[in-house]
Symmetry: C2
Subunit: 382 residues, 2 copies
C-alpha cells in the first residue's frame, strides 16, 4: 500500500526503531527505577537518556522537566487542565485539533472561559487577533504549530512573543511538526510543549511528551506508585515523578529515543527539506488537475507535509475509499478530529481528502497518487 | 542475570509477543479507527480482537466495556476518581498498593471519606471486617487480588458477595494475578477490574486495562480526538471512546493479545500450577535457613508467586544489592510502593527482599538463589 497518512502516524519507521524495541524487549525490559538490580537500572538509565535527547532536540535545559504521557492528547489535557482554574481565560484558534478544543470546552463547566480566534479561509492566523483578545485574566494561549488539516504553519514565534509580553503561559501543540521543524523552547518562549512520539519523532504509538517549564505549577490528576517516597500515602510533588505514576511505557520511550537519534543522525534540516520538497512536488502536480480544490495557503515554507484537497463537490470519504480500494493508496478523509478547522476553510460538510507525507515517501508514490486522482476525475467527468 | 522481579514486570516474554510487536510495527502500524484505508482498518480490527480476548479470559460479555489505559495505576485512578463523589465513602485494606491508597487519600480533599481495614500480621484479610465498616454512603470497595508484598491471595469471592448484598461497587486490582489465576467477573461480582498488560498477561509495559460493568457511570478526565463524532466539540459519551482519547497504544495492545493467546494456548491452570510449584519449592528450601524470616501466610493455594523475606535484622536494600552485585540475582527490596502493607506485616522500617517468580522461572535459578542466601547468611554469621 502507498501510505499517505503520516499526519496520523508516520509509517514506516526507521529500521533502528524496530531493532531498538526488540533489543529492549529481549534483553532489558525490567521495570525501571523501581528495583535495585542491574536490569532495572539499565531500563531507568535508558529512559533518562531519552529525556536528554528530547532536551537536545528542543533546547530544554532540565531533563526532569520532561513528562512522559500516553499520547499528545494526554499531554494537552494535563497542561490545559492542570494550569487553568475557575476564573481563568484561555485563548486558542479555530484551527486546533479536538485534543485542544474538547478539553477547553469541557473547562467551561468549571468556570474557565475561552476565546477561539478565527483563522482566515486558508487556515492562516493573524497574531494581532490573539493580542486583541487578551484579558486581565488570560492565563494561557494554546496554539498548534501546524494544522493537521491544511498543514498551515502557525506563527508560534510572534504568538510566543505576545504571550511573554503579557505574562501569559504559552502551550504549543507540536503534533505535526516535532522532529521535522526546529522548535527552540527558549527562543520561542514556549512554556508547555505537547508532543506525540509516533509522528515526526518516529517513535511508536502509545507515548506522548509534555515539557513543563521549571516553576510552572500544574496540578496532577493521577496518584500511584512512583518508585519514590514509597513510605508516603501522598503523591511526591517533585518532577517528573509527580506526573508519572505507575510503570512507564519503557518500550515506547526507548523507541522514541531511537527515532530521535535517527533524526539527529540524518539532520533535521535534511528531513524538513525533503518533506517540503515532496509537498511542493505533490501540490505542483495536482494544481494541473482542474477539478481539484487545494485547501490552505500552500506556500512552501509555511506548509507542513499535510495537504487537504477535494474533487469538485464529491464526498471526501467516498474518494478516500476509492483511493484505498481501487488504487491501494491510504489517505485520511473526513473531518480529521478538527471540526472548527473545517468550518474555517469551508469544508465542514464535505470534509477533505488529506494526503500527508513522511521522510520515506517517494516521488514515485506521489506520481501514482496523481495518476489515481486524474483517473478518478476522468471517471467522474465521464 | 537471574530475574526474580516478575511482580514488577514479567521477564522474559514469550517469543510470540516479540514477534507480534515486530510484525505489527513493520507491517500494519497505522493509526487505528481514524482513517478509511486498509492498514488503519487492520490496526482497528487488531485492537478489537484483543478486547475480545480479554472478554474470553475474564468472562466479560461486551468487548466495548474494556477500556485501554496507560497502566494499571491509570485504570485504578480512573475507576476510583470516576466513581466517587463528594459525600461518598470507600473501603479498602492495609495491603493495597499506593496506586489504590494514594488516589483514595487524594480524594479526602474532595469530601470522599475512606476506611482502610487492617489485615493481620500475615497480610490476611478477614472479610467480616469489611462488612463491619459498611456505611449508608459506602459506594465502593477496592481490593487487591493478591498482595504485591507478601503474595497473599485476598478473598475476592467473599468480599464480592458482601459488596453485591449491600449494593456497593466492587473494584479489584488484579495486578499480581491477571493471566495466572482465573478471574470471572460475573461469578465473583466484579464491577470494575484493573489490570496491567505487562505482568501475568505477558504483554509489554505502557498499557493497562479497565473493565467497567455496563451501566456504571464513571466520569472521564480527558477529552480529545476519538475518531468518532469528530464534528462535535464535546467528548462522545459512548464506550469505549469516552475514555480513549487520542492515538491508542496499538503496539502495546497487540502485544497483550499475543500474551493472552499464549496463556490460552498453554492453559491458565498449567501456568498457575507451575507458579505455585515454584513458590512452594522456594519457600520449602529457604525454611531450612534459620536466619531467614518469611512474611505472609505462605500456604500454597493462598499465595501468589511473590515471597517477601528478610535476613535477621539486615537492611533489605543492602541484601538486595548484594544479591545483584555478587550473585547476579535481581530482586526488589524496600517498601514496594505499599507502605501500609509493610506496616501490617511489621517491616515498615526494614522493608523486605521480594522474590517474585514467573512461568519461565526454573528450579535451577531458585537453587542458585537459595545458595546465594545461604552464603550471605554465612558471611553475616562469620
Amino acid at each position: 500500500m502507498i501510505y499517505f497518512d503520516n499526519a496520523a502516524t508516520t509509517f514506516p519507521k526507521p529500521e533502528i526503531v524496530h531493532e531498538t524495541v526488540l533489543n529492549h524487549l529481549k534483553n532489558s525490559a525490567a521495570n525501571p527505577g523501581r528495583s535495585g538490580h542491574k536490569m532495572a537500572f539499565e531500563a531507568g538509565k535508558a529512559i533518562y537518556e531519552v529525556r536528554e535527547l528530547l532536551c537536545q532536540l528542543f533546547n530544554i535545559s532540565n531533563p526532569m522537566q520532561i513528562v512522559f504521557t500516553s499520547n499528545a492528547t494526554d499531554s494537552l489535557n494535563l497542561a490545559i487542565k492542570g494550569l487553568l482554574k475557575d476564573g481563568d481565560h484561555v485563548i486558542t484558534t479555530s484551527m486546533e485539533h479536538n485534543s485542544v478544543l474538547r478539553p477547553i470546552k469541557a473547562l467551561e463547566g468549571k468556570g474557565v472561559t475561552n476565546t477561539i480566534v478565527d483563522c482566515d479561509e486558508f487556515g492562516v492566523l493573524d497574531p494581532k487577533k490573539i493580542r486583541k483578545e487578551i484579558r486581565s485574566n488570560t492565563k494561557l494561549i494554546v496554539l498548534t504549530h501546524a494544522s493537521n488539516v491544511t498543514g498551515t504553519i502557525m506563527p508560534i514565534e510572534e504568538v510566543g512573543k505576545i504571550a511573554r509580553e503579557n505574562n501569559i503561559y504559552f502551550l504549543v501543540d507540536a503534533a505535526q511538526t516535532a522532529g521535522i521543524y526546529p522548535i527552540d523552547v527558549e527562543k520561542i518562549g514556549i512554556d508547555l510543549l505537547a508532543l506525540p512520539a509516533h509522528k515526526g519523532l518516529l517513535g511508536i504509538q502509545g507515548l506522548g511528551v509534555l515539557y513543563i517549564r521549571e516553576g510552572i505549577e500544574i496540578d496532577h490528576f493521577k496518584e500511584g506508585g512512583t518508585g519514590s517516597k514509597s513510605e508516603e500515602l501522598i503523591q511526591p510533588l517533585f518532577m517528573p515523578d509527580r506526573y508519572e505514576s505507575g510503570t512507564p511505557n519503557t518500550p515506547g520511550i526507548v523507541a522514541l529515543g531511537a527515532g530521535i537519534q535517527f533524526i539527529l543522525n540524518e539532520g533535521m534540516e535534511k528531513i524538513h527539506k525533503r518533506e517540503e520538497f515532496l509537498t511542493e512536488y505533490f501540490i505542483s502536480k495536482i494544481k494541473e488537475i482542474p477539478q481539484i480544490k487545494i485547501y490552505g495557503a500552500h506556500h512552501i515554507g509555511t506548509q507542513a507535509a499535510v495537504v487537504s484537497i477535494n474533487i469538485g463537490d464529491e464526498d471526501s470519504s467516498e474518494i478516500g475509499c476509492l483511493l484505498d480500494e481501487s488504487f491501494d493508496i491510504g489517505v485520511r478523509s473526513g473531518l480529521h478530529c478538527a471540526p472548527l478547522a473545517h468550518k474555517t476553510i469551508g469544508t465542514f460538510e464535505q470534509g477533505t481528502i488529506r494526503f500527508s507525507f513522511g521522510y520515506f515517501t517517494t516521488e514515485y508514490e506521489i506520481d501514482r497518487a496523481v495518476e489515481a486522482l486524474k483517473s478518478i476525475c476522468d471517471s467522474i467527468e465521464g
